[in-house]
C-alpha cells in the first residue's frame, strides 16, 4: 500500500483562553479618543465582562494551535455522507471579502446598494433554473431553516385553500431535521416505509395519504444515495388528495443539469448552498438554505423580495399573501456571494460535469468496496453509497471502531449510523473534487481496515491513536455537563 496521509508530528498543547494572559495586556489598538468623557447613569452602569487580557502574540498562537487540531477539507478527503464536503474555491473567499459587500449596511437606500441586489436577483434566477422550479427565496440561513420555511409555505398555501391540515408524511430515510421542522409548524409526522429496493413506493404513500395530510417530505436522491424512481407517481397520489410535495435538496449535487425537480412534481425544495454550491461549512455554519417553489406557491414566499424595475433593483414588501419573514434582513449574503461566484466559475457545463463526476466517484467506491463491506442495497447509486458493518460484527468490530481507525489513515470518517434504516450504516460521499489517486488510497485504506478487523480487532478498538485526543468520554460529558469555564 502507498504511504497514507495520516501521520504524527509535533502537535502543540494549548490551554483555555482564560488560563493564559495577564491583566493589562491587550491585542487591540484602541481608536483615538477625540471626544471628552461624558457622564454615565450610575444606576445602569455595570462592571463589564470578566475576560482575560491577552497580547496579539498570545491570540495568534492560541488560534493557530487550535486550528491544527482540526481535520478540514483543505487538509484531506472528507467523505461525510449527505454533507457534500467538496473543495471550497478560494476565489469565492476573495469575492465575499470585497469591502463593497463586507461593509454594506443592510438598510442602505436602494440606489446605493444596487450591486448586492443585482447579485441576489441573478442568484435567485440561476437557482430557479438549476432546480427547474419557478421562483426562489434566499432568506433561510441554513438547510433546516429552509425546511422550516418550506413547511411555513405549506401551511400558508393550504390555509389559503381552506385548511392547513394536521399531518405530514416523512419517509423512514429522512434527515432528522425534516420531522423536527414539520413539528414546529404543528404537523404530526407519519413515517412512510421505503420498500425492499430502498425507495418509496406509490402504494405505501397511497395507503397513508388523505385529505388531512399536508403532503410529503422526500429527499431525492434519498439518503441511501438512491434516486427515488417512483417520485412522479408518488407526487400524483399526493396532488390528487390536494397535498404538496416537499423535496429536501441536500443531495442536489448528484443531479445538476440532469434532473429537473419541477418536472418531477416537486412543489417546494430547499437547497444547501454550503453543500452543492461550494461555500465552506465553517465548522458548522454559516450556511444558506434557499427555497425554490412552483408558480402557485410564489405569492407566499418570505418578504422582502428582490424585484427588477426599469433596469433598477429594489426590495419589495408588496406581497400580501407572504408567509412573513424568517431572517432579520435577507439571509446569509456572504454565503450567497460564494455560491454566485461558484456558479459563474463553473458555468452550465461545469455544473453538470460536477454532478457526473460526483456520481462516478461514488459508484467507483461502491464497486471497489462491495466485496469487502456489506452493501444493503446493491443498486446503481447516485453521489453517495451506504455500507454497513454486518461482515465485521462477528469479529466484534463495529462501524464506530472502523471509522475511528480511518482517522489514523488520514481520512475524515464518513457519516455513520445514518440513515437509520441501515443498522451500522457507513455513508460515503466522496464528492467530485477528489482525484482518482486519493479515492484509490481511500479504498485501499478501507480494505486494510477490514483486514485489521479480522486479524487484530484490538487495534480498531483502540483507534484513533494519531489524533490530538483519543476517544472521548461522551457519557461523562452528558451526565455532568460542564458547558463553560
Amino acid at each position: 500500500m502507498k504511504e497514507t496521509a495520516g501521520t504524527t508530528g509535533l502537535i502543540f498543547n494549548e490551554p483555555l483562553l482564560w488560563e493564559k494572559g495577564k491583566t493589562g495586556r491587550t491585542a487591540f489598538s484602541l481608536p483615538r479618543r477625540d471626544v471628552e468623557e461624558q457622564d454615565v447613569d450610575e444606576k445602569l452602569r455595570g462592571n463589564g465582562p470578566h475576560f482575560p487580557d491577552l497580547s496579539e502574540v498570545d491570540i495568534v498562537r492560541h488560534y493557530i494551535r487550535l486550528s491544527q487540531w482540526n481535520f478540514s477539507v483543505d487538509s484531506g478527503m472528507y467523505p461525510l455522507g449527505s454533507c457534500t464536503m467538496k473543495y471550497n474555491p478560494k476565489t469565492n473567499e476573495r469575492q465575499s471579502a470585497l469591502p463593497g459587500f463586507a461593509r454594506a449596511h443592510p438598510l442602505l437606500p436602494e440606489p446605493l446598494s444596487q450591486g448586492v441586489l443585482r447579485l441576489m436577483f441573478e442568484l435567485e434566477h440561476y437557482l430557479t433554473e438549476i432546480t427547474g422550479m419557478d421562483a426562489t427565496t434566499l432568506q433561510p440561513a441554513a438547510g433546516a431553516h429552509g425546511e422550516l420555511t418550506g413547511m411555513l409555505l405549506f401551511y400558508a398555501y393550504l390555509k389559503s385553500k381552506g385548511t392547513p391540515r394536521s399531518k405530514i408524511l416523512v419517509p423512514d430515510t429522512a434527515h432528522g431535521t425534516n420531522p423536527a421542522s414539520a413539528s414546529l409548524c404543528g404537523y404530526r409526522s407519519i413515517a412512510v416505509k421505503s420498500n425492499e429496493k430502498g425507495v418509496l413506493s406509490q402504494q405505501a404513500v397511497d395507503e397513508l395519504m388523505d385529505e388531512d395530510t399536508a403532503g410529503i417530505m422526500v429527499t431525492n436522491p434519498n439518503t441511501l444515495g438512491l434516486f427515488e424512481e417512483n417520485i412522479k407517481a408518488v407526487a400524483d397520489v399526493v396532488h390528487a388528495k390536494g397535498g404538496l410535495v416537499y423535496c429536501d435538496g441536500a443531495n442536489m449535487n448528484a443531479v445538476m443539469g440532469i434532473v429537473n425537480m419541477g418536472e418531477l412534481g416537486v412543489d417546494v425544495l430547499h437547497l444547501n448552498l454550503h453543500k452543492t454550491f461550494s461555500s465552506p461549512h465553517g465548522g458548522g455554519g454559516p450556511g444558506s438554505g434557499p427555497v425554490c417553489v412552483r408558480k402557485d406557491l410564489e405569492p407566499f414566499l418570505p418578504v422582502p423580495r428582490v424585484i427588477q424595475k426599469k433596469g433598477k433593483y429594489a426590495l419589495s414588501e408588496d406581497f400580501p399573501d407572504s408567509m412573513g419573514k424568517v431572517h432579520a434582513f435577507y439571509g446569509n449574503i456572504g454565503v450567497m456571494i460564494r455560491a454566485y461566484s461558484y456558479i459563474l466559475s463553473m458555468g452550465p457545463d461545469g455544473l453538470k460535469k460536477a454532478s457526473q463526476l460526483a456520481v462516478l466517484n461514488a459508484a467507483y467506491i461502491k464497486d471497489n468496496l462491495k466485496g469487502t463491506f456489506h452493501l444493503p442495497f446493491d443498486r446503481p447509486c447516485m453521489h453517495e453509497c451506504v455500507f454497513s458493518d454486518k461482515r465485521q460484527l462477528p469479529y466484534k468490530v463495529t462501524t464506530l471502531d472502523m471509522v475511528k481507525r480511518l482517522m489514523d489513515y488520514g481520512f475524515h470518517p464518513p457519516t455513520i449510523y445514518f440513515p437509520l434504516v441501515v443498522p451500522g450504516a457507513i455513508m460515503i460521499e466522496p464528492t467530485e473534487t477528489e482525484s482518482k489517486e486519493d479515492i484509490d488510497l481511500f479504498i485501499e485504506s478501507m480494505k486494510a481496515i477490514a483486514k485489521e478487523a479480522e486479524e487484530n480487532p484490538g487495534l480498531l478498538h483502540a483507534a484513533p491513536q494519531k489524533t490530538k485526543r483519543r476517544r472521548l468520554d461522551e457519557t461523562a460529558a452528558a451526565r455532568k455537563p460542564c458547558l463553560r469555564g
Binding site: 487591540f28 463589564g48 475576560f51 442602505l108 424512481e229 454559516p286 424568517v326 467530485e432 483519543r470
Partner: protein, 443 residues
C-alpha cells in the same frame, strides 16, 4: 475546470471499473421522463480574472466606508476588526471543517466554541450559553418558544421598542401555532410601558430589548420586579452587545433568557448576514435550550477534551420531539466573536464601550445644540433618536450626495415617528465626521 481533477484517462478507467461506457450512462437508471432534456440556461463560465472584474463592479456600486459616512446602526454595526482576527478566521482548518461530530479530529473547533460559550456567558451574565444560532431575530423566536415550553403557557408579551424586524420573524414562527403575541407599547421616555403586565396572569414570557431599538436602556430590574410571583420568564434581547461593556448585562438585571445579535463582535456587516444569534439562559433551563452545546470531558488517557453534548434534546435523536429543528449553528461567526472578545480583553472591551458611548453623546449634544429635538430622555449607548423638522427628507437626499447617511428614517417602522431618525455612532466615526454632518444638516 480547476476544481475537477479527473483527466479523460481517469474517467475512462473508472467507468471501466463500474462497467458503464459513458458519464451519461451513470444516470441510465433514472426513468427517462425524470431526466432533463435541455442544457442549463445560465451564463457560460467565467475565468478567474473575468469573475474578479465582474465582482469588483458589483461591489464597487455599494455605498460603504470609508467613502461614505454611515450613521446607521439599527441591528447592524460597523466596528474596527483587528487584522489578527480576520487573519486567524481565514484559517482553512476552521473554515473548511464540518460540524464537529468526530471529536478526536475536531478539538480545535470544539475548544474554540467552548471558549465562545464561556465568554458569551460572562458577557451576558448568564450561567450557560449555546454554540450560537442564525441571527438575533431567530434567537428571539427560539427564546419565546423555549419560554413557552418551560412555562406551559400560551401567550407572550413583547415590547414595541424591540427590533421591529425581529418581531416580524417571531410572528412568522408563531403563525402556525395557537400561541399569542401581545405588544407592550413604549412610553414617552423611550422605554417599555409595563402597566399592561399587571393584568396578564397567563404569560409564558416577556421580551424587552436593552438597549432597545430606539437606543434607550430599559429598566430591566424593574421589569424583573413586576414579574415576581408570575410564571412568565424574562427574556432580554439585544442587538448591540458592546453595550454590556458599560451597562449592566441581562444576567445582572435578572434575565431568565438572554438572546440577540452578535454581529457587532468582529463580524462584517455583509448586508445583514451571516450574523450571529447569541443565546444564553439559567442553567436550570438547559435541557429546554435549542441549539448545539459543547461540553468538557476527558479522553481515554485522561486528557482534557471537548465534545458536542446533551444532544438528546436535538433533532438527529429526538426527531419531531426535539427542542428545535436547528441542525448547525453559526460556528464561524461564533469563532469570530470569541476571537474579537479575546482580542479586546476585559479591559479593552470596557474602554471601547466607553468610547462608543462618549462619541455618541457628543453627536447627541451637537444635534441638540443645533436646535434639533431629542424626543426620548432615557440614557442610550451608541444609538439615539433625533426628530428633524418636517421636510428633512430633502436634506437627507442632499446629504446622500455628500456621501453621508444621516441615520435610519423611522417612519417605515413606526408611523408615529415620522421625521424621526435613528442615529448611530461607533468608534469608526471621528469627531470631524460628526462636526461635518451637523454642519451640513444646519445648512
Amino acid at each position: 475546470m480547476r476544481y475537477l481533477p479527473h483527466t479523460p484517462e481517469d474517467i475512462a478507467a473508472m467507468l471501466k471499473t463500474v462497467g458503464i461506457d459513458s458519464l451519461e450512462g451513470l444516470f441510465a437508471h433514472i426513468p427517462e421522463d425524470c431526466r432533463r432534456k435541455e442544457a442549463l440556461n445560465i451564463p457560460d463560465h467565467l475565468t478567474e480574472w473575468e469573475l474578479n472584474d465582474h465582482m469588483d463592479t458589483l461591489a464597487g456600486s455599494m455605498a460603504v466606508s470609508p467613502d461614505y459616512k454611515v450613521f446607521m446602526g439599527a441591528g447592524s454595526y460597523e466596528h474596527h476588526v483587528p487584522a489578527a482576527v480576520s487573519f486567524l478566521l481565514g484559517r482553512s482548518e476552521f473554515v473548511t471543517a464540518y460540524t464537529p461530530y468526530q471529536p478526536e479530529v475536531s478539538q480545535g473547533t470544539l475548544q474554540a466554541i467552548y471558549e465562545y460559550q464561556t465568554l458569551t456567558s460572562r458577557l451576558l451574565g448568564m450561567e450557560v450559553a449555546n454554540a450560537s444560532q442564525y441571527d438575533g431575530a431567530s434567537s428571539l423566536a427560539e427564546a419565546m418558544l423555549m419560554a413557552i415550553r418551560i412555562s406551559r403557557k400560551k401567550a407572550v408579551a413583547v415590547s414595541r421598542a424591540l427590533h421591529p424586524l425581529y418581531r416580524r420573524v417571531l410572528e412568522t414562527y408563531f403563525e402556525p401555532t395557537d400561541l399569542e403575541i401581545r405588544e407592550l407599547p413604549y412610553l414617552g421616555d423611550g422605554t417599555t410601558d409595563l402597566s399592561p403586565l399587571q393584568d396578564m396572569e397567563d404569560l409564558g414570557g416577556v421580551a424587552v430589548q436593552s438597549p432597545n431599538f430606539l437606543g434607550c436602556m430599559e429598566d430591566v430590574e424593574r421589569i424583573k420586579q413586576v414579574l415576581q410571583n408570575k410564571k412568565a420568564l424574562l427574556v432580554v434581547c439585544f442587538s448591540e452587545p458592546l453595550a454590556y461593556g458599560l451597562y449592566k448585562n441581562p444576567g445582572e438585571c435578572g434575565a431568565d433568557i438572554a438572546c440577540g445579535e452578535g454581529q457587532s463582535l468582529g463580524i462584517p456587516r455583509t448586508f445583514g448576514g451571516p450574523a450571529l444569534g447569541m443565546f444564553a439562559s439559567k442553567m436550570k433551563y438547559v435541557r429546554n435550550m435549542p441549539g448545539r452545546l459543547v461540553g468538557q470531558t476527558v479522553d481515554l488517557e485522561g486528557n482534557r477534551g471537548h465534545v458536542l453534548t446533551l444532544s438528546t434534546r436535538e433533532q438527529h435523536i429526538r426527531r419531531e420531539k426535539a427542542t428545535s429543528n436547528i441542525c448547525t449553528n453559526h460556528s464561524l461567526c461564533a469563532l469570530a466573536a470569541v476571537m474579537y472578545m479575546a482580542t479586546l480583553g476585559g479591559t479593552g472591551f470596557k474602554e471601547l464601550a466607553r468610547l462608543n458611548y462618549d462619541k455618541s453623546e457628543y453627536l447627541k449634544s451637537a444635534l441638540s445644540d443645533a436646535g434639533f429635538k431629542l424626543p426620548f430622555s432615557r440614557p442610550t449607548f451608541n444609538e439615539f433618536v433625533v426628530e428633524f423638522p418636517a421636510g428633512f427628507k430633502k436634506t437627507y437626499q442632499r446629504l446622500l450626495k455628500k456621501k453621508m447617511i444621516a441615520g435610519l428614517p423611522l417612519g417605515d417602522f413606526y408611523p408615529e415617528l415620522n421625521n424621526h431618525y435613528l442615529m448611530c455612532v461607533t468608534e469608526t466615526i471621528t469627531k470631524a465626521d460628526m462636526d461635518a454632518l451637523v454642519q451640513e444638516i444646519k445648512k
